[in-house]
Protein backbone atom coordinates (compact mmCIF):
# COMPACT_ATOMS: atom_id res chain seq x y z
CA UNK A 1 0.00 0.00 0.00
CA UNK A 2 1.48 3.34 -1.04
CA UNK A 3 -1.07 5.78 0.31
CA UNK A 4 -3.95 5.12 2.62
CA UNK A 5 -6.51 7.75 3.54
CA UNK A 6 -8.67 6.90 6.53
CA UNK A 7 -11.89 8.84 7.15
CA UNK A 8 -10.40 12.19 6.20
CA UNK A 9 -12.75 15.04 7.11
CA UNK A 10 -12.03 18.71 6.69
CA UNK A 11 -13.97 21.81 7.65
CA UNK A 12 -13.46 25.38 6.49
CA UNK A 13 -15.14 27.13 9.40
CA UNK A 14 -18.60 25.58 9.44
CA UNK A 15 -18.41 24.31 5.87
CA UNK A 16 -17.62 20.65 5.45
CA UNK A 17 -15.31 20.56 2.42
CA UNK A 18 -14.41 16.89 2.62
CA UNK A 19 -16.24 14.30 4.67
CA UNK A 20 -15.12 10.77 5.43
CA UNK A 21 -12.78 10.35 2.48
CA UNK A 22 -11.13 6.94 2.22
CA UNK A 23 -8.59 5.71 -0.27
CA UNK A 24 -6.36 2.68 -0.58
CA UNK A 25 -3.78 3.37 -3.23
CA UNK A 26 -1.47 0.60 -4.42
CA UNK A 27 1.91 1.40 -5.94
CA UNK A 28 1.63 1.83 -9.69
CA UNK A 29 -2.07 2.68 -9.81
CA UNK A 30 -3.61 5.55 -11.73
CA UNK A 31 -6.69 6.77 -9.90
CA UNK A 32 -8.99 9.58 -10.98
CA UNK A 33 -10.97 11.88 -8.74
CA UNK A 34 -13.86 13.62 -10.44
CA UNK A 35 -16.80 15.69 -9.30
CA UNK A 36 -18.55 18.99 -9.97
CA UNK A 37 -16.92 22.31 -9.09
CA UNK A 38 -16.56 22.77 -5.37
CA UNK A 39 -16.82 19.05 -4.65
CA UNK A 40 -13.60 19.09 -2.62
CA UNK A 41 -11.19 17.57 -5.12
CA UNK A 42 -8.40 20.10 -4.84
CA UNK A 43 -8.93 20.24 -1.09
CA UNK A 44 -7.96 16.58 -0.96
CA UNK A 45 -4.69 17.37 -2.74
CA UNK A 46 -4.09 20.23 -0.35
CA UNK A 47 -4.72 17.89 2.58
CA UNK A 48 -2.34 15.23 1.26
CA UNK A 49 0.42 17.77 0.60
CA UNK A 50 0.04 19.54 3.93
CA UNK A 51 -1.21 22.87 2.63
CA UNK A 52 -4.17 22.29 4.95
CA UNK A 53 -4.16 20.14 8.03
CA UNK A 54 -7.16 17.84 8.03
CA UNK A 55 -9.64 18.26 10.85
CA UNK A 56 -10.01 14.49 11.29
CA UNK A 57 -8.61 11.28 9.89
CA UNK A 58 -5.19 10.18 8.72
CA UNK A 59 -3.06 9.81 5.63
CA UNK A 60 -0.46 7.06 5.74
CA UNK A 61 2.21 7.25 3.06
CA UNK A 62 4.31 4.08 3.12
CA UNK A 63 3.45 3.84 6.78
CA UNK A 64 4.33 7.46 7.64
CA UNK A 65 1.59 9.70 8.98
CA UNK A 66 1.32 12.80 6.79
CA UNK A 67 -1.16 14.82 8.84
CA UNK A 68 0.76 17.47 10.76
CA UNK A 69 3.84 17.44 8.53
CA UNK A 70 4.87 20.58 6.65
CA UNK A 71 4.49 20.63 2.86
CA UNK A 72 8.20 20.52 2.18
CA UNK A 73 8.67 17.46 4.42
CA UNK A 74 5.88 15.67 2.59
CA UNK A 75 7.61 16.43 -0.71
CA UNK A 76 10.81 14.95 0.71
CA UNK A 77 8.92 11.72 1.44
CA UNK A 78 8.13 11.39 -2.26
CA UNK A 79 4.89 13.17 -3.09
CA UNK A 80 4.84 15.85 -5.79
CA UNK A 81 2.00 17.83 -7.29
CA UNK A 82 0.99 20.25 -9.96
CA UNK A 83 -1.54 23.03 -9.53
CA UNK A 84 -4.89 23.69 -11.12
CA UNK A 85 -3.81 27.16 -12.12
CA UNK A 86 -0.20 26.78 -13.19
CA UNK A 87 2.16 28.03 -10.53
CA UNK A 88 5.55 28.30 -12.13
CA UNK A 89 8.15 30.65 -10.71
CA UNK A 90 7.29 33.16 -13.38
CA UNK A 91 10.28 35.47 -13.24
CA UNK A 92 12.80 32.63 -13.15
CA UNK A 93 14.17 30.75 -16.13
CA UNK A 94 12.90 27.35 -17.23
CA UNK A 95 16.17 25.80 -16.06
CA UNK A 96 15.95 27.43 -12.63
CA UNK A 97 12.39 26.23 -12.19
CA UNK A 98 13.58 22.65 -12.52
CA UNK A 99 16.84 23.26 -10.68
CA UNK A 100 14.95 24.41 -7.60
CA UNK A 101 13.04 21.17 -7.52
CA UNK A 102 16.33 19.27 -7.36
CA UNK A 103 16.83 20.87 -4.03
CA UNK A 104 16.50 17.81 -1.85
CA UNK A 105 19.52 16.39 -3.63
CA UNK A 106 21.86 19.34 -3.13
CA UNK A 107 23.81 19.43 0.07
CA UNK A 108 25.76 22.46 1.12
CA UNK A 109 25.27 24.94 3.90
CA UNK A 110 24.36 28.64 3.64
CA UNK A 111 27.91 29.35 4.79
CA UNK A 112 29.30 27.55 1.76
CA UNK A 113 26.89 29.60 -0.37
CA UNK A 114 28.37 32.83 0.92
CA UNK A 115 31.85 31.96 -0.31
CA UNK A 116 31.22 29.43 -3.08
CA UNK A 117 33.83 27.16 -1.55
CA UNK A 118 34.21 23.43 -1.04
CA UNK A 119 31.73 21.26 -2.86
CA UNK A 120 29.76 24.21 -4.16
CA UNK A 121 30.86 24.04 -7.79
CA UNK A 122 30.58 20.28 -7.94
CA UNK A 123 27.07 20.18 -6.52
CA UNK A 124 25.87 23.06 -8.68
CA UNK A 125 27.23 21.49 -11.87
CA UNK A 126 25.63 18.18 -11.04
CA UNK A 127 22.27 19.84 -10.42
CA UNK A 128 22.39 21.81 -13.62
CA UNK A 129 23.27 18.66 -15.57
CA UNK A 130 20.40 16.76 -14.00
CA UNK A 131 17.97 19.58 -14.67
CA UNK A 132 19.10 19.83 -18.30
CA UNK A 133 18.68 16.06 -18.72
CA UNK A 134 15.15 16.29 -17.41
CA UNK A 135 14.36 19.23 -19.67
CA UNK A 136 15.65 17.22 -22.61
CA UNK A 137 13.32 14.35 -21.72
CA UNK A 138 10.45 16.82 -21.83
CA UNK A 139 11.75 18.49 -25.00
CA UNK A 140 12.15 21.78 -23.18
CA UNK A 141 15.93 22.09 -23.40
CA UNK A 142 15.79 24.78 -26.08
CA UNK A 143 13.89 27.00 -23.68
CA UNK A 144 16.26 26.48 -20.73
CA UNK A 145 17.30 30.14 -20.51
CA UNK A 146 13.88 31.58 -21.28
CA UNK A 147 11.91 33.26 -18.49
CA UNK A 148 9.19 30.76 -17.71
CA UNK A 149 6.33 33.24 -17.98
CA UNK A 150 7.21 33.68 -21.66
CA UNK A 151 6.47 30.04 -22.51
CA UNK A 152 3.24 29.19 -24.33
CA UNK A 153 0.52 27.71 -22.16
CA UNK A 154 0.97 24.08 -23.15
CA UNK A 155 4.69 24.19 -22.47
CA UNK A 156 4.06 25.81 -19.10
CA UNK A 157 1.90 22.82 -18.17
CA UNK A 158 4.60 20.47 -19.35
CA UNK A 159 7.26 22.37 -17.42
CA UNK A 160 5.19 22.22 -14.28
CA UNK A 161 5.02 18.44 -14.56
CA UNK A 162 8.76 18.26 -15.30
CA UNK A 163 9.42 20.38 -12.24
CA UNK A 164 7.30 18.12 -10.06
CA UNK A 165 9.19 15.08 -11.35
CA UNK A 166 12.52 16.68 -10.54
CA UNK A 167 11.76 16.04 -6.88
CA UNK A 168 11.92 12.28 -7.63
CA UNK A 169 8.41 11.48 -6.40
CA UNK A 170 6.78 8.10 -6.01
CA UNK A 171 3.33 9.61 -6.01
CA UNK A 172 2.34 12.36 -8.43
CA UNK A 173 -0.80 14.42 -7.91
CA UNK A 174 -2.05 16.06 -11.11
CA UNK A 175 -4.65 18.78 -10.60
CA UNK A 176 -6.62 19.28 -13.81
CA UNK A 177 -3.71 18.88 -16.21
CA UNK A 178 -6.06 19.13 -19.21
CA UNK A 179 -7.58 22.47 -18.21
CA UNK A 180 -7.74 24.74 -21.23
CA UNK A 181 -6.74 22.05 -23.74
CA UNK A 182 -8.56 21.10 -26.93
CA UNK A 183 -9.53 17.46 -27.72
CA UNK A 184 -6.42 16.90 -29.79
CA UNK A 185 -4.14 18.18 -27.03
CA UNK A 186 -6.00 16.00 -24.54
CA UNK A 187 -5.22 12.91 -26.63
CA UNK A 188 -1.54 13.86 -26.58
CA UNK A 189 -1.71 14.49 -22.85
CA UNK A 190 -3.17 11.02 -22.27
CA UNK A 191 -0.23 9.42 -24.03
CA UNK A 192 2.10 11.71 -22.16
CA UNK A 193 0.71 10.77 -18.74
CA UNK A 194 0.89 7.06 -19.58
CA UNK A 195 4.44 7.54 -20.71
CA UNK A 196 5.74 9.43 -17.64
CA UNK A 197 3.97 6.89 -15.47
CA UNK A 198 6.04 4.09 -16.93
CA UNK A 199 9.23 6.04 -17.46
CA UNK A 200 9.35 7.38 -13.89
CA UNK A 201 7.57 4.42 -12.24
CA UNK A 202 4.88 6.64 -10.80
CA UNK A 203 1.67 6.20 -8.95
CA UNK A 204 -0.71 8.94 -10.04
CA UNK A 205 -3.83 10.56 -8.68
CA UNK A 206 -5.55 12.70 -11.27
CA UNK A 207 -8.19 15.34 -10.72
CA UNK A 208 -10.00 16.18 -13.90
CA UNK A 209 -13.12 17.62 -15.45
CA UNK A 210 -12.42 16.27 -18.92
CA UNK A 211 -14.29 12.96 -18.98
CA UNK A 212 -12.48 11.90 -22.10
CA UNK A 213 -9.19 11.97 -20.23
CA UNK A 214 -10.40 10.39 -17.01
CA UNK A 215 -12.32 7.60 -18.67
CA UNK A 216 -9.46 7.03 -21.07
CA UNK A 217 -6.61 6.40 -18.68
CA UNK A 218 -7.78 5.93 -15.11
CA UNK A 219 -8.10 2.43 -13.77
CA UNK A 220 -10.23 3.48 -10.88
CA UNK A 221 -12.38 6.53 -10.32
CA UNK A 222 -13.75 8.18 -7.23
CA UNK A 223 -16.60 10.65 -7.55
CA UNK A 224 -17.03 13.44 -5.03
CA UNK A 225 -20.00 15.72 -4.54
CA UNK A 226 -20.22 18.32 -1.77
CA UNK A 227 -17.25 16.68 -0.06
CA UNK A 228 -18.78 13.23 0.12
CA UNK A 229 -17.70 10.20 -1.92
CA UNK A 230 -20.79 9.27 -3.89
CA UNK A 231 -19.37 6.58 -6.15
CA UNK A 232 -16.24 4.57 -6.71
CA UNK A 233 -15.29 1.98 -9.28
CA UNK A 234 -14.15 1.22 -12.79
CA UNK A 235 -14.70 3.86 -15.48
CA UNK A 236 -17.52 1.83 -17.04
CA UNK A 237 -19.31 1.49 -13.71
CA UNK A 238 -19.01 5.19 -13.00
CA UNK A 239 -20.41 6.16 -16.37
CA UNK A 240 -23.68 4.37 -15.64
CA UNK A 241 -23.99 5.20 -11.98
CA UNK A 242 -27.28 7.08 -11.41
CA UNK A 243 -25.84 9.03 -8.47
CA UNK A 244 -23.04 10.37 -10.63
CA UNK A 245 -25.43 11.40 -13.37
CA UNK A 246 -27.54 13.14 -10.79
CA UNK A 247 -24.59 15.03 -9.35
CA UNK A 248 -23.45 16.21 -12.74
CA UNK A 249 -26.71 16.68 -14.60
CA UNK A 250 -29.39 17.02 -11.96
CA UNK A 251 -32.11 14.66 -10.75
CA UNK A 252 -34.07 12.67 -13.31
CA UNK A 253 -31.58 13.22 -16.12
CA UNK A 254 -31.03 10.43 -18.58
CA UNK A 255 -28.28 9.83 -21.04
Amino acid sequence: MLLQAKSITHYFGGLCAVSDFNLDLQAGELVGIIGPNGAGKTTIFNLITGVYRSTQGSFQFEGTELVGLRSNRITDLGIARTFQNIRLFQELTVLDNVRIANYGQIHYSPFVSLFHIGRFGLEEDRTIDEAMDLLAVFKLEDYADETSKNLPYGLQRRLEIARALATHPKLLLLDEPAAGMNPNEIMLLMDFIQWIRQEFKLTIILIEHQMRLVMGICERIKVLDFGATIAEGLPAEIQNNPKVLEAYLGEGAEL
Partner: protein, 318 residues
Amino acid sequence: MNKKQIVSSSLLLIAIILLALLPLMTKKNSTINLVILLLLYMTLASSWNILGGYTGQTNLGHAAFFGIGSLITRLLWIGGIPFSIAFLAGGIGAVALALLIGIPAFKLRGVYFAIGTLALAQILNLTVSNIFPEMSYNPNLADYQLMPRYYLFLVLAILTIGSAYFLVNSKWGLGMMAVREGEDAAESLGISALKHKLLALSVSAFFAGLVGGAFAYYHVSYYLSMPFGPEWTFDPMMMAYIGGTGTIIGPIIGAVFFVGLKQFLVWNVGEYHLIIFGTLFILIVLFLPGGLVEAWNKSRRLLQSRTGQKKNRVVPIT
Protein backbone atom coordinates in the same frame (compact mmCIF):
# COMPACT_ATOMS: atom_id res chain seq x y z
CA MET B 1 34.31 33.46 -18.38
CA ASN B 2 32.61 35.00 -21.35
CA LYS B 3 33.23 38.46 -22.73
CA LYS B 4 30.43 40.08 -20.78
CA GLN B 5 31.68 38.67 -17.50
CA ILE B 6 35.22 39.86 -18.21
CA VAL B 7 33.97 43.36 -18.94
CA SER B 8 31.80 43.55 -15.84
CA SER B 9 34.40 42.10 -13.51
CA SER B 10 37.10 44.45 -14.77
CA LEU B 11 34.73 47.39 -14.36
CA LEU B 12 34.07 46.20 -10.84
CA LEU B 13 37.78 45.89 -10.12
CA ILE B 14 38.44 49.41 -11.43
CA ALA B 15 35.63 50.81 -9.28
CA ILE B 16 37.03 49.12 -6.18
CA ILE B 17 40.59 50.31 -6.90
CA LEU B 18 39.40 53.86 -7.49
CA LEU B 19 37.45 53.82 -4.25
CA ALA B 20 40.42 52.35 -2.40
CA LEU B 21 42.72 55.06 -3.77
CA LEU B 22 40.24 57.89 -3.26
CA PRO B 23 41.89 59.18 -0.05
CA LEU B 24 45.13 59.63 -2.03
CA MET B 25 43.38 61.57 -4.76
CA THR B 26 41.55 64.08 -2.62
CA LYS B 27 42.40 65.86 0.58
CA LYS B 28 38.88 67.19 0.97
CA ASN B 29 37.09 65.62 3.92
CA SER B 30 33.74 66.63 2.48
CA THR B 31 34.30 64.35 -0.52
CA ILE B 32 35.33 61.47 1.72
CA ASN B 33 32.27 62.05 3.88
CA LEU B 34 30.01 62.04 0.87
CA VAL B 35 31.46 58.74 -0.35
CA ILE B 36 31.09 57.29 3.14
CA LEU B 37 27.41 58.22 3.04
CA LEU B 38 27.16 56.58 -0.36
CA LEU B 39 28.82 53.37 0.84
CA LEU B 40 26.62 53.30 3.91
CA TYR B 41 23.49 53.58 1.78
CA MET B 42 24.70 50.95 -0.68
CA THR B 43 25.22 48.55 2.21
CA LEU B 44 21.82 49.28 3.71
CA ALA B 45 19.98 49.08 0.40
CA SER B 46 21.77 45.87 -0.65
CA SER B 47 21.11 44.22 2.68
CA TRP B 48 17.43 45.24 2.52
CA ASN B 49 17.28 43.83 -0.99
CA ILE B 50 18.35 40.33 0.10
CA LEU B 51 15.08 39.94 1.97
CA GLY B 52 12.84 42.49 0.26
CA GLY B 53 13.98 42.03 -3.32
CA TYR B 54 15.05 38.42 -3.55
CA THR B 55 12.81 36.77 -0.99
CA GLY B 56 9.79 39.02 -1.47
CA GLN B 57 9.32 39.82 2.21
CA THR B 58 8.72 43.50 2.79
CA ASN B 59 10.77 44.69 5.72
CA LEU B 60 9.48 48.07 6.87
CA GLY B 61 11.80 48.23 9.85
CA HIS B 62 15.32 47.85 8.53
CA ALA B 63 16.22 50.78 10.78
CA ALA B 64 15.67 48.50 13.79
CA PHE B 65 18.62 46.33 12.71
CA PHE B 66 20.76 49.29 11.71
CA GLY B 67 19.89 50.97 15.01
CA ILE B 68 20.49 47.99 17.26
CA GLY B 69 23.86 47.39 15.61
CA SER B 70 24.90 50.97 16.16
CA LEU B 71 23.58 51.00 19.72
CA ILE B 72 25.38 47.83 20.79
CA THR B 73 28.64 48.79 19.10
CA ARG B 74 28.57 52.33 20.46
CA LEU B 75 27.83 51.35 24.05
CA LEU B 76 30.42 48.55 24.12
CA TRP B 77 33.09 50.54 22.32
CA ILE B 78 32.64 53.71 24.38
CA GLY B 79 32.51 51.42 27.42
CA GLY B 80 36.06 50.32 26.68
CA ILE B 81 35.67 47.07 24.77
CA PRO B 82 37.90 46.75 21.66
CA PHE B 83 36.13 48.06 18.61
CA SER B 84 36.39 44.86 16.57
CA ILE B 85 34.52 42.88 19.23
CA ALA B 86 31.93 45.63 19.70
CA PHE B 87 31.47 45.80 15.93
CA LEU B 88 30.84 42.06 15.60
CA ALA B 89 28.53 42.13 18.61
CA GLY B 90 26.43 44.73 16.81
CA GLY B 91 25.94 42.44 13.82
CA ILE B 92 25.12 39.44 15.98
CA GLY B 93 22.73 41.51 18.08
CA ALA B 94 20.89 42.53 14.93
CA VAL B 95 20.53 38.88 13.88
CA ALA B 96 19.18 37.98 17.32
CA LEU B 97 16.62 40.78 17.08
CA ALA B 98 15.71 39.72 13.55
CA LEU B 99 15.04 36.14 14.62
CA LEU B 100 13.00 37.39 17.56
CA ILE B 101 10.59 39.15 15.22
CA GLY B 102 11.03 36.85 12.23
CA ILE B 103 10.23 33.49 13.79
CA PRO B 104 6.74 34.42 15.02
CA ALA B 105 5.93 36.75 12.10
CA PHE B 106 6.96 34.32 9.36
CA LYS B 107 4.83 31.53 10.79
CA LEU B 108 1.92 33.66 9.60
CA ARG B 109 1.53 34.64 6.01
CA GLY B 110 0.70 38.04 4.62
CA VAL B 111 1.37 41.45 6.04
CA TYR B 112 2.33 40.42 9.55
CA PHE B 113 6.04 40.66 8.93
CA ALA B 114 5.78 44.10 7.31
CA ILE B 115 3.66 45.43 10.17
CA GLY B 116 5.77 43.68 12.77
CA THR B 117 9.02 45.20 11.55
CA LEU B 118 7.45 48.65 11.18
CA ALA B 119 6.24 48.48 14.77
CA LEU B 120 9.55 47.08 16.00
CA ALA B 121 11.57 49.97 14.59
CA GLN B 122 9.16 52.55 15.97
CA ILE B 123 9.05 50.95 19.43
CA LEU B 124 12.85 50.77 19.57
CA ASN B 125 13.12 54.36 18.37
CA LEU B 126 10.90 55.59 21.22
CA THR B 127 12.38 53.30 23.84
CA VAL B 128 15.97 54.18 23.05
CA SER B 129 15.24 57.91 23.00
CA ASN B 130 13.63 57.58 26.44
CA ILE B 131 16.44 55.52 27.96
CA PHE B 132 19.23 57.58 26.39
CA PRO B 133 17.92 61.14 26.08
CA GLU B 134 21.45 62.58 26.13
CA MET B 135 23.68 63.09 23.14
CA SER B 136 26.38 60.42 22.85
CA TYR B 137 29.90 61.85 22.41
CA ASN B 138 33.04 60.15 21.26
CA PRO B 139 35.35 60.64 24.28
CA ASN B 140 38.60 60.12 22.35
CA LEU B 141 38.16 62.94 19.92
CA ALA B 142 41.88 63.68 19.85
CA ASP B 143 42.58 60.31 18.18
CA TYR B 144 39.79 60.63 15.64
CA GLN B 145 40.89 59.74 12.12
CA LEU B 146 38.67 59.63 9.10
CA MET B 147 40.67 57.11 7.05
CA PRO B 148 40.05 53.95 9.12
CA ARG B 149 36.36 54.83 9.06
CA TYR B 150 36.37 55.25 5.32
CA TYR B 151 38.02 51.88 4.73
CA LEU B 152 35.71 50.18 7.19
CA PHE B 153 32.71 51.40 5.20
CA LEU B 154 34.35 50.43 1.93
CA VAL B 155 35.20 46.90 3.06
CA LEU B 156 31.73 46.50 4.53
CA ALA B 157 30.02 47.59 1.31
CA ILE B 158 32.14 45.16 -0.73
CA LEU B 159 31.48 42.38 1.77
CA THR B 160 27.72 42.98 1.76
CA ILE B 161 27.34 43.23 -2.00
CA GLY B 162 29.68 40.27 -2.52
CA SER B 163 27.81 38.13 -0.02
CA ALA B 164 24.50 39.06 -1.61
CA TYR B 165 25.87 38.09 -5.00
CA PHE B 166 27.23 34.75 -3.84
CA LEU B 167 24.15 33.95 -1.80
CA VAL B 168 21.63 34.61 -4.56
CA ASN B 169 23.70 32.57 -7.00
CA SER B 170 23.43 29.48 -4.84
CA LYS B 171 20.73 26.96 -4.10
CA TRP B 172 19.73 29.04 -1.08
CA GLY B 173 19.28 32.11 -3.25
CA LEU B 174 17.32 30.12 -5.78
CA GLY B 175 15.10 28.90 -2.96
CA MET B 176 14.63 32.47 -1.76
CA MET B 177 13.48 33.54 -5.20
CA ALA B 178 11.17 30.54 -5.41
CA VAL B 179 9.56 31.63 -2.15
CA ARG B 180 9.13 35.11 -3.60
CA GLU B 181 7.54 33.78 -6.78
CA GLY B 182 5.11 31.46 -5.01
CA GLU B 183 5.23 30.06 -1.53
CA ASP B 184 2.83 27.16 -2.11
CA ALA B 185 4.65 26.03 -5.21
CA ALA B 186 8.02 26.32 -3.44
CA GLU B 187 6.85 24.22 -0.52
CA SER B 188 5.36 21.67 -2.88
CA LEU B 189 8.89 21.22 -4.26
CA GLY B 190 10.42 20.58 -0.88
CA ILE B 191 11.61 24.10 -0.09
CA SER B 192 10.99 25.25 3.46
CA ALA B 193 9.68 28.79 3.09
CA LEU B 194 10.27 29.53 6.75
CA LYS B 195 13.91 28.45 6.64
CA HIS B 196 14.64 30.53 3.56
CA LYS B 197 12.91 33.61 4.88
CA LEU B 198 14.79 33.35 8.15
CA LEU B 199 18.10 32.87 6.36
CA ALA B 200 17.52 35.91 4.15
CA LEU B 201 16.39 37.93 7.13
CA SER B 202 19.44 36.94 9.18
CA VAL B 203 21.94 37.82 6.46
CA SER B 204 20.07 41.05 5.76
CA ALA B 205 19.99 42.03 9.44
CA PHE B 206 23.59 41.00 10.02
CA PHE B 207 24.95 43.46 7.46
CA ALA B 208 22.50 46.17 8.54
CA GLY B 209 23.75 45.67 12.10
CA LEU B 210 27.40 45.83 11.01
CA VAL B 211 26.91 49.02 9.05
CA GLY B 212 25.12 50.37 12.13
CA GLY B 213 28.30 49.60 14.04
CA ALA B 214 30.36 51.42 11.44
CA PHE B 215 28.01 54.38 11.81
CA ALA B 216 28.59 54.35 15.58
CA TYR B 217 32.35 54.33 14.97
CA TYR B 218 32.15 57.12 12.41
CA HIS B 219 29.90 59.69 14.08
CA VAL B 220 31.44 61.88 16.70
CA SER B 221 28.20 62.83 18.40
CA TYR B 222 24.59 61.84 17.85
CA TYR B 223 21.48 60.83 19.74
CA LEU B 224 21.51 57.07 20.19
CA SER B 225 17.92 56.85 18.98
CA MET B 226 18.77 58.59 15.71
CA PRO B 227 19.76 55.42 13.76
CA PHE B 228 16.35 53.95 14.63
CA GLY B 229 14.56 56.71 12.70
CA PRO B 230 12.23 55.68 9.86
CA GLU B 231 14.42 57.39 7.24
CA TRP B 232 16.99 54.58 7.71
CA THR B 233 14.33 52.16 6.55
CA PHE B 234 12.63 54.10 3.83
CA ASP B 235 15.58 55.77 2.12
CA PRO B 236 17.42 52.47 1.46
CA MET B 237 14.14 50.85 0.45
CA MET B 238 13.53 53.64 -2.03
CA MET B 239 17.06 53.22 -3.41
CA ALA B 240 16.44 49.51 -3.95
CA TYR B 241 13.22 50.30 -5.79
CA ILE B 242 14.73 53.11 -7.86
CA GLY B 243 17.64 50.91 -8.95
CA GLY B 244 15.70 47.67 -9.22
CA THR B 245 14.79 45.21 -6.48
CA GLY B 246 15.89 41.63 -6.85
CA THR B 247 19.07 42.56 -8.72
CA ILE B 248 22.58 43.00 -7.33
CA ILE B 249 23.38 46.20 -9.18
CA GLY B 250 19.98 47.82 -8.53
CA PRO B 251 20.56 49.00 -4.96
CA ILE B 252 24.03 50.26 -5.95
CA ILE B 253 22.71 52.34 -8.83
CA GLY B 254 19.77 53.39 -6.69
CA ALA B 255 22.06 54.60 -3.91
CA VAL B 256 24.23 56.63 -6.32
CA PHE B 257 21.16 58.08 -8.01
CA PHE B 258 19.45 58.84 -4.70
CA VAL B 259 22.43 60.48 -3.03
CA GLY B 260 23.31 62.44 -6.16
CA LEU B 261 19.79 63.68 -6.73
CA LYS B 262 19.34 64.48 -3.07
CA GLN B 263 22.51 66.58 -2.97
CA PHE B 264 21.42 68.40 -6.08
CA LEU B 265 17.87 69.01 -4.87
CA VAL B 266 18.81 70.03 -1.35
CA TRP B 267 21.10 72.71 -2.77
CA ASN B 268 18.50 73.91 -5.24
CA VAL B 269 15.06 73.50 -3.72
CA GLY B 270 15.76 72.84 -0.04
CA GLU B 271 13.04 71.06 1.91
CA TYR B 272 10.89 70.59 -1.18
CA HIS B 273 13.15 67.69 -2.18
CA LEU B 274 11.01 65.46 0.04
CA ILE B 275 7.97 66.08 -2.16
CA ILE B 276 9.98 65.32 -5.28
CA PHE B 277 11.33 62.08 -3.81
CA GLY B 278 7.88 60.99 -2.73
CA THR B 279 6.50 61.61 -6.19
CA LEU B 280 9.44 59.88 -7.83
CA PHE B 281 8.99 56.82 -5.64
CA ILE B 282 5.29 56.54 -6.49
CA LEU B 283 6.01 56.95 -10.20
CA ILE B 284 8.68 54.27 -10.17
CA VAL B 285 6.57 51.75 -8.28
CA LEU B 286 3.64 52.39 -10.62
CA PHE B 287 5.33 52.59 -13.99
CA LEU B 288 8.75 51.02 -13.59
CA PRO B 289 8.48 48.29 -10.98
CA GLY B 290 11.84 46.89 -12.06
CA GLY B 291 13.56 50.24 -11.51
CA LEU B 292 16.41 51.70 -13.54
CA VAL B 293 17.79 48.22 -14.29
CA GLU B 294 14.55 47.31 -16.02
CA ALA B 295 14.51 50.62 -17.89
CA TRP B 296 18.04 49.92 -19.09
CA ASN B 297 17.25 46.38 -20.20
CA LYS B 298 14.08 47.48 -21.92
CA SER B 299 15.74 50.28 -23.84
CA ARG B 300 18.54 47.98 -24.95
CA ARG B 301 16.05 45.43 -26.18
CA LEU B 302 14.19 48.15 -28.04
CA LEU B 303 17.41 49.42 -29.59
CA GLN B 304 18.47 45.93 -30.64
CA SER B 305 15.16 45.06 -32.23
CA ARG B 306 15.33 48.39 -34.12
CA THR B 307 18.73 47.57 -35.49
CA GLY B 308 17.59 44.06 -36.35
CA GLN B 309 19.87 42.17 -34.01
CA LYS B 310 17.02 40.15 -32.63
CA LYS B 311 19.11 37.03 -32.37
CA ASN B 312 21.23 38.47 -29.60
CA ARG B 313 18.98 37.94 -26.67
CA VAL B 314 19.53 40.55 -23.98
CA VAL B 315 20.85 39.05 -20.80
CA PRO B 316 19.46 41.17 -17.99
CA ILE B 317 22.18 42.68 -15.87
CA THR B 318 21.93 41.33 -12.40
